[in-house]
Amino acid sequence: MELLSGGDMLVRALQDEGVDLIFGYPGGSALHIYDAIFRQKSIKHILVRHEQGATHMADGYARATGKVGVVLVTSGPGATNAITGIATAYMDSIPMVVISGQVPTEKIGEDAFQETDMVGCSRPIVKHSFLVKSAEEIPEIVKKAFYIASTGRPGPVVIDVPKDVTNPADRFPYRYPDKLRMRSYTPAGKGHSGQIRKAVAQLLSAKRPVIYAGGGVVQGGGAELLTELARRLNFPVTNTLMGLGAFPGSDKRFLGMLGMHGTFEANTAMHHADVILAVGARFDDRVTNTPGKFCPGAKIIHVDVDPASISKTIVADIPIVGTVQSVLSEMLEILKSSDEQPDQSAIVDWWRQIDDWRERHGLYTAPRYRTDGALIMPQEVIRAVYEITEGNAFVASDVGQHQMFTAQYYLFDKPRRWINSGGLGTMGFGLPAALGVKIAHPDEEVICVTGEGSIQMCIQELSTATQYHLPVKILCLNNQALGMVKQWQEMQYEGRLSNSVYEESLPDFVKLAEAYGHLGMKIERREELYDKLREAFAIKDRTVFIDVYVDPSEHVYPMQVMPNGSMRDMWLSKTERT
């Protein structure tokens, strides 16, 4: 058997796992591993500018491809800098393996230079973690880490590797295991057939059904099945922020996003529904508004791979634990093998009602923002980009108003094209995530939608884009303030703008982009919006930073009324309430 050092074993195990890309940043404790990377060819390493950038890049890569994102950082500050990105991946159930260097085993606990208890620090935000005790353990730990990260409800796994374990002088026999035996981990498989039959019967008896689909449908590869099911039944579908793309945004059965900034028709239909089929969604507080007032007349069918998500905040009438693919295909089989159809006249009435809601306040039946002013409205920027890219771009978003405008106005027909930090709401996610997507899909249009606040949280990655030639578009909706914070301060704090404005301190983003070797473009006048955007999107071989000055006073609507509101209680504009 071949003898390898721990560092070489680690890299070989990654190769045997099929890894061809690592995002990382070297440092003392990780140097043996970095040397092993230098001495091989098949794995490409992307050198980021900050470890947070590495985790978000791997995350964006994982979201766009469904593969496991791999990160390599050093101990101490390298490891703690990765924490925000690990938490982001954890909240959105993204498969990721983070390898962190650690001080040598005999120094652990001595407050050594660049020592931090990474297993301890990351414990609440990982699916699992390993501290490697000897080099011989490495192949099995790597195999387990990838298996745990990518199966069941996916999530990040940390492997903390003390430096002595990777010492090039100590060599051991290497064999990558073909099979794993884990008595303590059995991810859910097929759902319970009896429950699935009960759910189908419930769906067939529905008069006002809504399908509520979340990120689990995207992650679990269930988008096609969900689309087939919804079309077959002719049921309306709403997606969560994480689920956008799980059902085609341009399908007439799509109600738009639901929740805090969901559409009027989606939230109102949920409130009045008699049967809700929740798939791969977790009844997040940004969806349900006040749990006690959530969908008072609805029977709830909840399909999820994670039993702990079921009946956590909202009690399910028909819980089904299983993979989205297996449960949805079993539902479809039952429907196809019987002649039973839902009550057609009830469904027609329900659609008539929904169409009336759409007509009154829907986002897609008429512009719900100002169209005759001098200032550029943020919504029309997203709409313009949607038209210019024909809805085919991969869009990575940062966090704030621009994220909500994009979720509302860029309609995704395919899964894995909308890349955003939904659960943790991490500002700074957008740019590195977009770069991760671009590496996965070099020939696709990749856009980072951001704001002048978020972009400055990971702006250093503009340099990574230069080094690896990653021509993404950065669309900055610049309102010269922390827009979402300001919106809440205006709505709930009588307009006291505590620390949410920049007071003329913003950099010139055009010059900044140029300093990194990119192209900068500023759009200030409404009449030049389309032409300039077309010009920017015609450039394919450069990173383009498009700084668009938008109406700084605009708010995101609809916005659910808080606290104590139900799904249907919404502000529709600054003055209009349901």
Partner: protein, 163 residues
């Protein structure tokens, strides 16, 4: 409601901190906790007492099950079970008190395991309720120091928690 949850988990470093971390992270109570290896050295058995309604207990057991190191668990309070806790208490015992304490120890089927001219160390095993009652019977003035093991438990009958 008070529940006794018994957990079989991998006898690995860090496994206990994952269980304890889960409780603090999600705001669940731990009334008592004991843990030790089993006859199979690769497994530890952890018994914890917690308080919560059915919904909370369901969440606790689901989230415990999600931990990769947890192999199996059972809520012992769902069925007939035996629970035991060990109490060691150091009491002042001189003069006439000595006989009286001895009588109390006999009533509670305890044992005096250490003696000096001024004190006894008493050992009592039983349910937490019984240990509470014994301490009450002693009276707080006689008690010098108390240590309790936390609850261990096992199901009655042929039901077993094993891999």
């Amino acid at each position: 409601m008070r529940r006794i949850i018994s957990v079989l988990m991998e006898n690995e470093p860090g496994a206990l901190s994952r269980v304890v971390g889960l409780f603090s992270q999600r705001g669940y109570n731990i009334e008592s906790l004991t843990v030790a290896p089993t006859e199979d050295a690769s497994l530890s058995r952890l018994t914890l007492v917690t308080i919560g309604d059915d919904h909370k207990i369901e969440q606790i057991t689901k989230n415990l099950n999600k931990l990769i190191d947890v192999v199996k668990l059972v809520d012992l309070t769902e069925g007939a079970h035996i629970e035991r806790e060990l109490l060691l208490v150091k009491v002042r015992a001189s003069g006439a008190q000595r006989d009286e304490i001895k009588r109390s120890v006999d009533i509670f089927r305890g044992q005096i395991v250490d003696v000096t001219s001024n004190m006894y160390t008493v050992q009592v095993a039983g349910t937490s309720e019984k240990l509470d009652a014994f301490l009450q019977a002693l009276g707080e003035h006689t008690i010098m120091e108390v240590v309790r093991s936390g609850v261990s438990g096992i199901a009655r009958g042929e039901k077993v928690l094993s891999v």
